[in-house]
């Protein structure tokens, strides 16, 4: 699959507890041609890979070409200018607000997609050239209680001027909660090049960056209808039941009150409730927002994430893991964190979540604290 944006792949030798910005050992770099496969995870024996982005034919990015040579010769540049993202397992799925600000007009190759909890927020102002995806109106289909189907997904992308090789960058309110959800839906339908702007709206606003109420109008594209949805990132209830019986790891990302079974729903709105309070037996409880820094909405650094999910809760990157919440949106945030930031091999989002499991005939539940 072509990935023309990756010009140089730097492989950094593995060093205990040290990321690319701190590594001081010898360095190898491999130039990638346009049709080179892009490795999806760090190579064996290397701590992380660090991909430079740029288009050699674009005069705006020629400095990168020069820097490439320098980087081949010395790692001082990396040490002096720490990598824009901490050493996550897959740093290519995060972009910084700085990067975003530099690529707002790069509309032929990059599409910024805002996805918010609040339906009006985009209309009050957004990144220049960003389009809006609303999770209720654009991503869900009430008539089947499911996501939009492949045809609807292709139509949505076409409407937003997105092509198969467009670099789609999601961002939004609430620590990128819905941005991660939209990212997950795009991954379900196999869109290759997706990223999240770290910090989302909150950080962008805090930094006083440009916002506009003008909605862009991109020429409609002809996005091909994808094949079947990628079932490797989505769990259905049968699978969850088998996973539970095997004692497979699960992470419930709802509030501790919901997890322990003290509440099932908002009082007075029975139509939203599950019949029973509690959690799926064996699940650990890590409220989704713990993965983000409160101050600016960015993701916590790798070591802190590892401490929360691996050290505290005993989750393991090699185990198949299922994340769920109430309707599968908060858990898409955790799915993103486990998959891309911590590099878990196989994480599925159970989007039926508690509204399904809590109402199922014959499905066991637990209440109270997670078992030890």
């Amino acid at each position: 699959m072509p990935h023309p944006r990756y010009d140089v792949l730097l492989l950094l030798p593995k060093a205990e507890g040290r990321g690319p910005s701190a590594v001081a050992g010898p360095l190898t770099a491999s130039p990638l041609s346009d049709d080179s496969p892009r490795p999806s995870r760090p190579e064996e024996g290397f701590f992380a890979f660090f991909a430079l982005r740029g288009d050699f034919n674009n005069p705006d990015t020629t400095p990168i070409r020069t820097r490439r040579i320098e980087l081949l010769l010395t790692i001082h540049e990396l040490t002096a200018h720490p990598s824009p993202m901490p050493d996550y397992a897959h740093p290519e799925v995060l972009v910084s607000t700085d990067w975003a600000a530099e690529h707002l007009d790069d509309t032929d190759r990059v599409r910024f997609v805002e996805a918010n909890e609040d339906v009006l927020l985009y209309k009050t102002g957004h990144l220049p050239n960003a389009v809006n995806v609303d999770w209720v109106q654009d991503l869900q289909d009430d008539t089947v209680r499911d996501f939009i189907d492949a045809e609807q997904f292709a139509a949505l992308c076409s409407r937003m001027g997105i092509e198969e090789d467009t670099h789609v960058v999601f961002y939004g309110d609430k620590n990128n909660w819905w941005a991660c959800y939209a990212f997950w839906v795009f991954k379900l339908y196999g869109h290759a090049d997706c990223a999240v702007m770290d910090g989302g709206r909150k950080k962008w606003e805090q930094e006083g960056r440009e916002m506009t109420t003008d909605s862009p109008d991109f020429a409609e594209t002809d996005y091909p209808v994808p094949g079947s949805a990628d079932s490797s990132i989505r769990a259905f209830r049968q699978e969850v039941e088998e996973h539970m019986r095997r004692g497979g790891p699960m992470v419930d990302v709802r509030s501790p009150e919901e997890f322990k079974g003290e509440i099932t729903h908002v009082p007075g709105l029975p139509e939203e409730s599950a019949m029973r309070p509690g959690h799926i037996p064996g699940a650990r409880n890590v409220p989704w927002a713990r993965a983000a820094n409160d101050e600016d909405g960015t993701f916590r650094p790798p070591a802190e994430l590892a401490e929360i999910y691996e050290d505290e809760e005993g989750l393991n990157a090699q185990d198949d893991t299922i994340a769920y919440c109430r309707i599968g949106e908060r858990s898409s945030h955790t799915w993103f964190v486990l998959t891309y930031l911590l590099g878990f091999d196989q994480v599925k989002n159970y989007d039926g979540s508690w509204t399904e499991w809590g109402n199922l005939v014959g499905a066991p539940i637990e209440t109270g604290e997670a078992g030890s």
Binding site: D118, K123, V136, Q137, Q140, E272
Partner: protein, 149 residues
């Protein structure tokens, strides 16, 4: 102050996307929170916890011979939907009598054409704001039956 019917009429006439534009206009109409309530708000009191954003709602009853409802509220600009809906409640009920609030329709969100447009989860927070308003007004007006309802 305008009646629910007057406020809802243009919403009912509009196509969904224009309904959102109309709602957006209300985000500017929520009056600033009187200074005397700022301390309570900052202390996290009188918050509508069902909302995803910090919504402060403090309905009061003015005793001036008759009883007059006062709606004091604060909703951050980062939550324009809750802010707009709260502004609608202010427009409809600030200056009303407790009896008006009691007689107001249960299905206000349907009448504004917002239920289907916003989806269940978003509607939930807004419904909680409305329920809090009606409950507090009933309680403070000494209307025991309504407060329990």
């Amino acid at each position: 102050m305008r009646s629910i019917e007057d406020i809802a009429a243009p919403f009912q006439m509009m196509e969904p996307d224009m309904r959102l534009e109309l709602l957006l206009e209300y985000t500017d109409k929520l009056p600033p929170l009187p200074e005397r309530y700022a301390e309570m708000r900052d202390a996290g009191m009188a918050m509508v916890h069902e909302c995803q954003s910090p919504v402060f709602l403090m309905p009061e009853i003015e005793q001036n011979g008759a009883q007059t409802v006062r709606v004091h509220a604060d909703v951050p600009e980062s939550a324009p939907t809750a802010r707009a809906f709260t502004a609608i409640l202010h427009e409809a009920f600030d200056g009303a009598t407790p009896a008006d609030v009691r007689a107001a329709p249960d299905d206000l969100l349907d009448r504004l054409g917002l239920s289907g447009l916003l989806g269940m989860q978003r509607t939930q927070g807004l419904a909680a704001i409305y329920r809090r308003l009606r409950g507090e007004v009933a309680r403070k007006a000494g209307d025991e039956t309504a407060a329990q309802a």
